[in-house]
């Protein structure tokens, strides 16, 4: 079995409000809020890297779990914005945690990478014991803060999240997951050179269909109804999309944890940052199921179900 043991997160202190960003991209700050639900996002400092953000989130997660890095069996690091393709940030995160032999693997998938990490961790934990999943992104270096780059610049921010998946104990058990890939639509969301290129309308069209379907399929095969779920923890892509997903699965938006107003879309970090904030606000035993879901580059999407540890 595999359990969710703890979450962690780190966001850089630098806040970039819509009032600061709007004039750079030629957009009204109120319009940015209306189309995205984002009020501000965080930007990493020049000296920070994807790995350094990931290390801070990892340390926060391990501290909350009361687990030493030496006790990890594996590390999975998701990022679509790493400074270097190969080697990616996973080995640096492991080294930053003081590890020199623990396997650390990259998942270079923007937005959906941490969901993929959780699904893989659920399968690997019984073999290796404890798997630390990290999502870390510096998306601010992948967008153009000009009128030409408006559609992406308004959305993205920087940050990192982490989750410790433990074979033996935790507050919720990972019960099932669904992952899907459709490379036929790979061109709608990609990093070209150093820039994120996104056909935003096609991304929304695809995500609006695929996320509710993945959630519905996952719940159905576990004999659960959407209303049975206590909390939905989604990739924080856009508030309007999350609201439409909520409508699509026919549950009130209040069942969805939302923090996009403060951090923007932090790609593969966002779901774990949201999970960390949700868990901090709800530290007790978990009785109702938890559903994670994400959609991202590839295109990749899916959903993961966790239930009370005794369930």
């Amino acid at each position: 079995m595999a359990f969710l043991r703890a979450f962690g997160s780190y966001v850089p202190p630098r806040r970039v409000t819509n009032h600061e960003l709007g004039p750079l991209v030629g957009a009204d700050p109120a319009w940015i809020l209306e189309v995205s639900g984002i009020e501000e996002r965080r930007y990493a400092a020049n000296e920070e890297t994807v790995a350094s953000l990931g290390i801070l989130a990892a340390e926060d997660c391990l501290r909350k779990a009361g687990v030493s890095a030496q006790d990890l069996g594996m590390i999975l690091v998701a990022s679509g914005s790493s400074e270097r393709f190969c080697p990616g940030p996973a080995s640096q995160v492991a080294a930053g945690l003081g590890l020199s032999a623990t396997p650390a693997l990259d998942i270079p998938v923007a937005s959906c990478g941490s969901l993929i990490g959780l699904a893989l961790a659920a399968e690997l934990a019984p073999k290796v014991g404890r798997v630390l999943v990290v999502g870390a992104e510096i998306m601010s270096r992948r967008v153009d803060r000009t009128p030409e780059g408006k559609d992406t610049a308004i959305l993205f921010g920087d940050g990192a999240g982490a989750c410790l998946v433990d074979a033996d104990s935790g507050f919720a058990r990972i019960a099932d997951w669904i992952l899907s890939t459709d490379g036929n639509a790979a061109e709608i969301l990609k990093v070209v050179g150093e820039r994120l290129v996104m056909d935003g309308k096609s991304v929304i069209l695809q995500a609006y269909r695929k996320i509710p379907r993945a959630i519905g399929d996952l719940l159905a095969r576990n004999s659960l109804a959407a209303a049975d779920v206590g909390i939905y923890l989604l990739h924080q892509a856009n508030l309007n999309l999350i609201e439409r997903v909520a409508a699509g699965v026919k549950v009130p938006i209040e069942r969805f944890f939302v923090n996009i107003a403060r951090y923007g879309n932090t790609s593969s970090a966002s779901m774990l940052i949201a999970a960390d904030e949700w868990r901090a606000a709800h530290p007790g035993p978990v009785s109702a199921p938890i559903v994670f879901s994400a959609f991202g580059a590839g295109i990749q999407w899916g959903a993961l179900l966790a239930v009370g540890a005794q369930g």
Binding site: D182, K201, S202, I204, L205, Y208, R209, R244
Partner: protein, 78 residues
């Protein structure tokens, strides 16, 4: 022409107002459809024409103008 009129009806029901875009006018560049209105538009087309638009066709450029949408709907209905 009838198909285009029905497409326009779907568009108007989403926007809640009378619209009259040209057949080749970009619904995106004109501001008539944003990302989220587009999802409603696609769903509305399915309902209006009794068709199922598969995920493989969920590309925004297929739905950019009334003429493109009419050609798509005609092909689906054929």
């Amino acid at each position: 022409v009838e198909t285009e009129a029905r497409i326009l009806k779907v568009l108007q029901s989403i926007k809640g107002t009378t619209l009259n875009p040209g057949a080749d006018e970009s619904l995106f560049e004109s501001g008539l459809l944003d990302s989220f209105a587009l999802t409603d538009f696609v769903g509305g087309l399915e309902d209006e024409f009794g068709i199922t638009i598969p995920d493989s066709d969920l590309s925004a450029r297929k739905f950019d103008t009334i003429r493109k949408v009419a050609a798509y709907v005609a092909a689906k209905a054929a």
